[in-house]
């Protein structure tokens, strides 16, 4: 498409939410605990001095007299506060299982998910802090969230999976039943189709948590749908499966049978333990590579049919309105995408020298085949290294050793998946899908991300 590039239209609701997210992100950045070394962890320097050590300023005098509540206030979410002795080799540490047999993260690790400021906090989403993540898996407590009616509390003893419709023998399965089936364990990412929706028009959010944080990777354990399908017997002509959750939204999506029999899992395990309540405890659907909302959480029902059910989510919500007024429906797959997480927005490089550029690449259509990195805004590319062995429909942590000369630079990553699909630019996507908005084609933004580094080492989100 020649000529000027049209901008994406956001309706008033979307625009207001994006503006509020900018405010929320700024607040979150201001809350970060300052760190003082010139190492990788010290690259969030844009903090007001008055906030330094705010978490721990009152900690040392508290001693053992403090109440549990007061201690809880001093520790970040998911951590327990302890006084740090001047020399940890000169006194005993805590007793084995002193925490009751389930550990917590260090009180010095304070990263949290940040909620997108939708007007209603029960139908909302939160972002994984990708800028602080190491390795390839997401800590279960930092897995991004998207709920349409809050997180329900479900006693697994009272939870059943009903499987019925076009089957020979309709059945209900208790959690105990489901766990008796042979299980598989696979690593997969889940990405919300709305990941990056603020970034179509102009660089809006400052950090990679805001721009890409609706992406998380876990090791999932559960039963193949195919196993359950044989148990009930699929009738001739069955071609869709409705999945339904047991939350207040009673969330439903129709899934093609082809996908269900290819690689769908009914999972109860995440990273070695039961899946987190926010991730669907005690049971969720896992559809490798499909947009996040289809991985129905709190899964209670699978109805086999010969047609899709045209639920609210697959007609009015997760469809992609194009410039001609038509909307793509059942746009399920998350296409190949990558992002540099270090260095990324709001970090500051302390000076010229060696930096290990690092990021994540993923594709809903299979393995990542290669990742290239550019430090000149896409004029030249060089291959990145894989830090893990690529697995199907799983993130790959990549890195690229780089010596910064202190001059302005534009960092980008671009991945290719095993189908040969190359991650596109934002301009390419807008040229194809048009500039039409409100929550229309603002889903499925998988474009190349650019981080600008200026002469001072400050890193910012830009469009290049």
């Amino acid at each position: 498409m020649a000529g000027k590039l049209a901008s994406v239209i956001y309706d008033e609701k979307a625009r207001r939410m994006a503006e509020e997210m900018v405010t929320a992100e700024a607040h979150h950045i201001a809350q970060r605990r300052p760190e003082e070394c010139d190492c990788k962890d010290g690259m969030f320097p844009l903090l007001p001095a008055s906030r330094r050590r705010f978490l721990f300023a009152a900690g040392s005098a508290a001693g053992f007299a403090s109440s549990t509540a007061a201690l809880a206030q001093k520790a970040p979410p998911g951590a327990v506060y302890y006084d740090a002795p001047a020399d940890s080799t000169k006194e005993l540490g805590r007793a084995v299982t002193a925490e009751g047999g389930y550990g917590s993260r260090s009180q010095f690790e304070s990263e949290v998910r940040v909620r997108f400021p939708t007007p209603n906090e029960y139908t909302s989403w939160s972002f994984t802090p990708l800028d602080k993540m190491v390795g390839n898996l997401t800590a279960s407590g930092l897995h991004f969230e998207r709920h349409h009616g809050g997180t329900p509390t479900i006693d697994p003893a009272n939870h059943f999976l009903y499987v019925h419709g076009m089957v020979d023998t309709a059945k209900k399965f208790s959690m105990a039943d489901i766990k008796r089936f042979p299980a598989v364990t696979r690593k997969h990412f889940i990405e919300c189709s709305g990941n990056g929706l603020t970034e179509w028009n102009k660089p809006t959010l400052k950090t990679v948590q805001g721009t890409h944080g609706l992406l998380s990777t876990s090791e999932w354990t559960g039963v193949q749908f195919a196993t359950i399908a044989r148990e009930v017997g699929l009738k001739e002509g069955s071609s869709w499966v409705l999945a339904e959750g047991a939350d207040a939204a009673v969330m439903t999506r129709s899934i093609p049978m082809e996908k269900m029999l290819k690689d769908a899992l009914v999972v109860y395990g995440q990273n070695g333990e039961g899946i987190r309540p926010e991730q669907g405890y005690p049971l969720r659907l896992l559809l490798p590579g499909y947009e996040g909302n289809t991985h129905i959480k709190w899964l209670r029902r699978l109805e086999v049919s010969d047609k899709p059910f045209m639920t609210r989510e697959e007609t009015s919500k997760y469809t992609d309105l194009l410039a001609n007024g038509k909307a793509r429906q059942f746009s399920m797959e998350m296409e190949a995408k990558s992002v540099i997480t270090f260095p990324s927005g709001e970090m500051k490089l302390p000076g010229p020298g060696f930096y290990n550029i690092s990021g994540l690449a993923w594709s809903g259509r299979g393995r990542i085949q290669s990742v290239d990195v550019s430090v000149d805004g896409g004029q030249t590319w060089a291959p990145a290294q894989f830090n893990v062995t690529p697995e199907p429909v799983c993130t790959v942590r990549f890195s690229y050793p780089w010596i910064w000369d202190g001059k302005p630079a534009l960092l980008q990553s671009r991945c290719t998946d095993e189908t040969g699909y190359i991650q596109p630019t934002r301009k390419q996507l807008i040229a194809i899908r048009g500039s039409h908005g409100p929550f229309g084609s603002i889903y499925h933004l998988n474009a190349i991300q650019t981080w600008a580094i200026d002469e001072t080492g400050s890193v910012s989100n830009v469009h290049a």
């Binding site: 007007p119 148990e231 339904e244 047609k307 009015s316 429906q329 500039s435």
Partner: protein, 187 residues
């Protein structure tokens, strides 16, 4: 119909088969409890043809009061929506003819392709703070009211399992299958 296509790795199963127990192949485990229609009565999902719509009926007249009492707090007294903090109710009405414009507006009236979806969703998840609390007659009435305010049906039309699937929504033909991967990216 179930065959022993795979080796039986589990010693216990092998023993069971070896001593002549009833066939227990690895294709079929016998887990789960068979269920009948009575176990499924609380479930529903209504596709475009209206399969599974319950008995009962409703009209816009009855729906007007129900809407005012149960829906307007979030969706506005005219279905105009309310983006206020703590609310966030979607706009339901208006927007016809805007989908191909520079300011598209997606509402039940302008965008939703099936009236059955409206019934399914209201019965399923509305009102937001008391999901599933409306009777089937109430849901038919609220649906009739919204469709009537949208000028999709007449104010006097009765909505029930027979009439609702026949309602033609303005954007019924507005959807196309996913066309990705986009061929333009392979130029």
């Amino acid at each position: 119909m179930f065959t022993h296509k795979r080796p039986l790795y589990a010693a216990g199963l092998w023993l069971a088969v070896a001593v002549g127990s009833p066939a227990q192949s690895q294709d079929h485990y016998g887990f789960g409890t068979p269920i009948g229609q009575q176990d499924l009565v609380k479930f529903f999902a209504i596709p475009g043809d209206g399969t599974g719509l319950p008995a009962g009926s409703g009209t816009a007249t009855a729906g007007a009061k129900l809407f005012a009492d149960n829906c307007a707090a979030c969706h506005g007294d005219k279905g105009q929506g309310d983006p206020a903090k703590g609310v966030g109710g979607d706009r339901l009405l208006g927007g016809r003819g805007t989908l191909a414009s520079d300011t598209p507006m997606k509402t039940v009236e302008s965008y939703w392709p099936y009236a059955t979806t409206l019934f399914d969703y209201v019965k399923r998840a509305m009102p937001f703070n008391a999901p599933g609390s409306l009777s089937d007659n109430d849901v038919y009435s609220v649906v009739a009211y919204i469709l009537s305010e949208a000028k999709i049906i007449k104010p006097t039309d009765t909505m029930n399992a027979s009439t609702l699937p026949k309602v033609t929504m303005p954007n019924r033909d507005g959807f196309i299958p996913d066309s990705r991967p986009e061929l333009e990216l392979y130029h």
